[in-house]
Subunit: 644 residues, 2 copies
């Protein structure tokens, strides 16, 4: 079995995700291809492809014109884009895209040294400094992303050229760190999870061994980055090797109990750890993963599934510190939390992992992209204050509207590769069971495993009715089928061909399990409880005391100024007040349901401080899904609203 | 008339301020003297006095051993301490202190160059770089503080040696910037207000001219710091001359409409501007001061009178951005706001300036010092969260307990010099009127002006009864007397010898004015309305929506964990609920009254997010005055508490 289990077998076909998959294919991937080639006017320059051309030229002729441009990890933008393109090609033929990908891969091949080494920053700019600054230089990170792209491209298109290139690079890394015994571990984890994928795609044990090596040595010598700096004395951007939390190397990974430091680094590391634990059965590693996942989701995660409370270090901070307006809440970090949760779900069949995956996907990740697919948020605050957000010294990062592209362009292609590979998260086939984790409409071909197809039809996330249609191919379908029942669904009905299923009573660990042998086409319908829910944060979250948020289905809602007289800060929910669910509005914000909450608008004094009790007028608060905020210009926005 | 109008005439003698004046004399000044001489174990080294010794040695012999140590503005710590000591000597003879001060002044004199130049950083470390980095190097700032000390020492002790030293330095500055026409203005304002003091103390017009020069040229060439950097190309600490808001030089001062940048720089500048406007009658300057004062107090000031919302740049941010837990709220900035307000009060007789002065004094400034006078807050947050405050990357500055001393030790001596010169703020004699601005108990000798003394007796700030006793000296006292009636006192009673004064009806611009000719000792009593008040912030202050603060008299109250089951975050005020006033507790926190507010404690789920409505139990919330917080170890603290 390859690394990608279902991508070729599932055709997304629903209104909600269909639109996104199409958007990725028709807008996001072409837009990003243009960006990587520096063809977008007014956007930050990328220079990614040009860096590869220069590296190839230098290898061919011994020199090249011009200078490397961009971040030290600029190569990874090409890798993530290629990975997204590969997923798209898996389900949608596009000879032009395929040809252009092949050309880029050809170029990448020409930028590879004879010994397998591949990294344009070092080839062009620092040819004598390979492997001398693991702390900052992102060589293993870039290799990891290109390995992921290689695995994806091989499995989605059958073309193995990039896979061969990256096996040579992985072999080079193996020689350096294992055979030659070089010390160290990456400043930015990623290689670990990538090598696990490469191992599964190729079956080669050495890649697994190399992944485990990087996991096992991390933090054992917690001074490694300091020693490296003393020894080699060069810096890419003046990073502080003494900050051991930043790159999760203060302790060996099995001893780590709190999610600390740079949030993306953290969840990429944990994803690799969980995958390794899954592969090896290493219980101490699995236990560390559970502890860290619990710490994130019980103490350090926003209600939108976002993580990273501080701009400083793009990092986790402390338990229960979850400021709304200054949140870092990077799109990439929420995507990494989805990767981590997806691996945890393989490690331990419990719906809570899928619940978090869904929370991060439908809220933080989707908010990371403008509805038209052309602008992106790096940072996803839970409160936007025009005049302050994006402007105050403390809020420079927390932009209230999405910019076109970033000098550090990690998030846009990360969104593209996630949305074009949803099948890997929506469905699992594990041992003898088919799991439906996320409710993405479309048809999954499981002829090989279960003798037929299953089609999911739904208007989710705006409607709670989900229909699975099992169609036997030749004879009967024999299926163990596990449907995730979200923890938020307090009253879930499951029917088989219209009759209540006995099994609905047996929701275990967040899944309702059915075992059926279907000779005829069979329908399983699930009715999730789509009641609107008020959410309360733990009393230790200082930013949210006295406040409530609102959810319906998997969606977190928010209030935006434009729907609420341009003043969201004076709104209060009425405790116990009703919240009405609006009609589906196909033309508003690409199709949403609004919510209308009973509340008050307080009119206080115009003085900065006043002794007059503000007057409260009853009002109706209009709420929109959080993922649609910031699509209508500069606007106040609030997820957590005081309740009286 | 000298610069100091009343310091020699007023003897503080009340329980509240008497304790502080004694503390400054017996603990704060000796403690700081030890600190300046590096005699405190475990505290940051100061090296201040040693720097002067080295400079003197170098001037005498052409060289010195050792290196300059400390901030580029380290000299100013000596200056502020000397100024505080001078004020203390004005009312309290202390031959030892006087002798030690004289010795330091003698040392300072020996560190002065023949041309009048005085600055140990430049003398010891950068002898060839005088006046080449006005942006960062604080030469004019240090000169300003030493001028203030000189004026104070001369007026309080009659010794003019330091005044002569500083006149020579001021003459040197005059030659450089006026006669030789050097361009530029100080990166850190202070010289302006100091030169106005020097002008009034000496009567020399050139000092006034020099003060006005620095005010007038500021921001006219807004690129000055950039050009200076290009021309001279050296840096003290890598400051950014392109950030024109930081040092208030983006525009000429008369065009500035918003209080921006480093908060201490801002209010020191505005103080000098207000003093200059007062002296010259320049209405455009007065109008700029009013605009800036209004912007601060109507949009950018904490309820405690603190200013500066961001650690980044120790700065103002944007209107209505007033975060509680990450506030910068520097003690020095609140002191500067008192300086500014005091000058505004001379410029325009309106009680609102005294109201702000009182707010900043009784809340932010007093909170800056531990009750025993040995530890200090630089930063005065309005919410302390143990585990986060002082620990999270975003809260490193917002310590929850006071440290001993600081590498940058500007705040402790600033508190000392303010508290030992309270008479200058409490009382004004202006034209033919005696103003009582702040209610500090003691006896003021106004024989010269009005033919007698006035004694103020009160248990303020815990009691609202204030008694003024006028005692004619030889014949009658003829007094125009204006008593500030705080805006928060909604029902104020004024009696003369027990009979209601007619004038109580005529509170104009925040002052009740009486004109009396007293042949016999006469008592004027004022009863301020000490009802407890709930305060509401403007609806645009996102951090305080749904919340209330509590005040009584001039004091802002807060809840601390130790009085409230170690959990302040779960407390809610009941809207319209009663708040009881406790007995005066002489042994608690050096004497306070607690308040007991009707409220609720909410018990929510232990999950990070929950759909259960938290259960609310009625409870009594114990409140203590904000200035006493952080005196009982690590503790939750909250000023703004949600109200339901």
């Amino acid at each position: 079995m390859g690394d990608l289990k279902l991508i070729g077998k599932f055709a997304v076909a629903d209104g909600f995700w269909g639109r996104y998959v199409r958007l990725v294919r028709e807008v996001v991937l072409p837009y990003q291809e243009n960006a990587l080639n520096d063809r977008i006017e007014g956007a930050e320059k990328s220079h990614c492809i040009e860096n590869f051309r220069m590296a190839a030229e230098k290898l061919r002729t011994g020199k090249c014109e011009g200078e490397f441009y961009g971040m030290v990890f600029q190569d990874s933008d090409v890798a993530k884009w290629l990975e997204g393109a590969a997923y798209s090609l898996a389900r949608h033929e596009d000879a032009g895209l395929k040809r252009r990908c092949d050309e880029i891969i050809e170029l990448i091949g020409r930028a590879q040294h004879g010994d397998g080494y591949l990294n344009t920053y070092f080839t062009v700019k620092e040819p004598d400094r390979r492997w001398t600054n693991l702390h900052e230089a992102h060589e293993l990170y870039c290799a990891g992303h290109m390995i992921e792209a290689a695995v994806a491209y091989a499995e989605c298109t059958g073309e193995t050229k990039l896979l061969e290139i990256m096996c040579r690079m992985a072999d080079h890394i193996y020689r350096h760190f294992i055979e030659e015994g070089a010390e160290g571990y990456p400043g930015h984890p990623e290689i670990e999870l990538a090598l696990m994928r490469l191992y599964r795609a190729t079956g080669q044990d050495k890649y697994r061994e190399l992944a485990l090596h990087f996991i096992d040595v991390r933090g054992v010598n917690s001074d490694y980055f300091i020693q490296e700096k003393q020894r080699n004395n060069w810096s890419v951007w003046g990073g502080h090797p003494t900050d051991k939390e930043y790159a999760q190397n203060a302790e060996p990974v099995r001893m780590q109990r709190k999610a600390v430091g740079h949030a993306v680094r953290a969840v990429y590391l944990y994803t690799g750890m969980a995958d390794a634990a899954l592969e090896t059965g290493d219980e101490s590693l699995a236990e560390a993963c559970r502890t860290l996942w619990n710490n994130i989701t019980q103490c350090r995660m926003y209600v939108t599934g976002a993580i990273g409370s501080a701009y400083e270090g793009e990092a986790f901070t402390k338990d229960y510190h979850l400021p709304n307006d200054t949140a870092y809440a990077e799109t990439c970090a929420a995507i990494g939390l989805i990767f981590f949760s997806n691996k945890m779900l393989y490690l331990e069949r419990n719906g809570r992992y899928a619940d978090v995956m869904e929370r991060a996907l439908y809220n933080c990740v989707l908010a990371g992209m403008q509805l038209d697919g052309t602008r992106f948020f790096y940072v996803n605050p839970l409160e936007a204050l025009p005049g302050i957000s994006g402007e105050a010294q403390t809020h420079r990062h927390a932009l209230p509207v999405r910019p076109k592209w970033f000098a550090c362009a990690c998030c846009p292609p990360n969104v593209a590769r996630l949305l074009s590979s949803l099948s890997e998260y929506a469905w699992h086939i594990d041992k003898d069971t088919l799991y439906s984790n996320l409710f993405v409409g479309g048809t999954l071909d499981v002829s090989e495993e279960f003798g037929g197809t299953v089609t999911l039809e739904t208007a989710y996330p705006y409607d709670g009715r989900i229909t699975y249609r099992f169609t036997p191919k030749e004879k009967a379908m024999d299926v163990r089928f596990a449907i995730r029942v979200p923890a938020w669904s307090r009253d879930t009905k499951i029917c088989v061909n219209g009759a209540p299923a006995q099994q609905e009573m047996e929701v275990r660990n967040g899944y309702a399990c059915l075992h059926g042998t279907f000779f005829e086409p069979t329908e399983v319908t699930v009715e999730l409880d789509m009641s609107v829910r008020k959410v309360y944060a733990n009393g230790r979250v200082a930013a949210n005391t006295g406040k409530a948020a609102v959810e319906r289905g998997p969606l977190v809602y928010c209030a935006e100024g434009t729907d609420n007289n341009d003043d969201v800060l004076s709104l209060y929910y009425k405790r116990g007040g009703s919240i009405a669910v609006g009609e589906y509005l196909p033309d508003k914000l690409c199709g949403i349901r609004e919510l209308y909450a009973e509340g008050y608008r307080e009119k206080g004094s115009s003085d900065l401080y006043s002794y007059e009790t503000p007057a409260a007028e009853p009002c109706r608060i209009t709420l929109i899904p959080y993922y649609t905020w910031g699509n209508r210009g500069l606007n106040q926005m609030r997820v957590w609203i005081p309740e009286k």
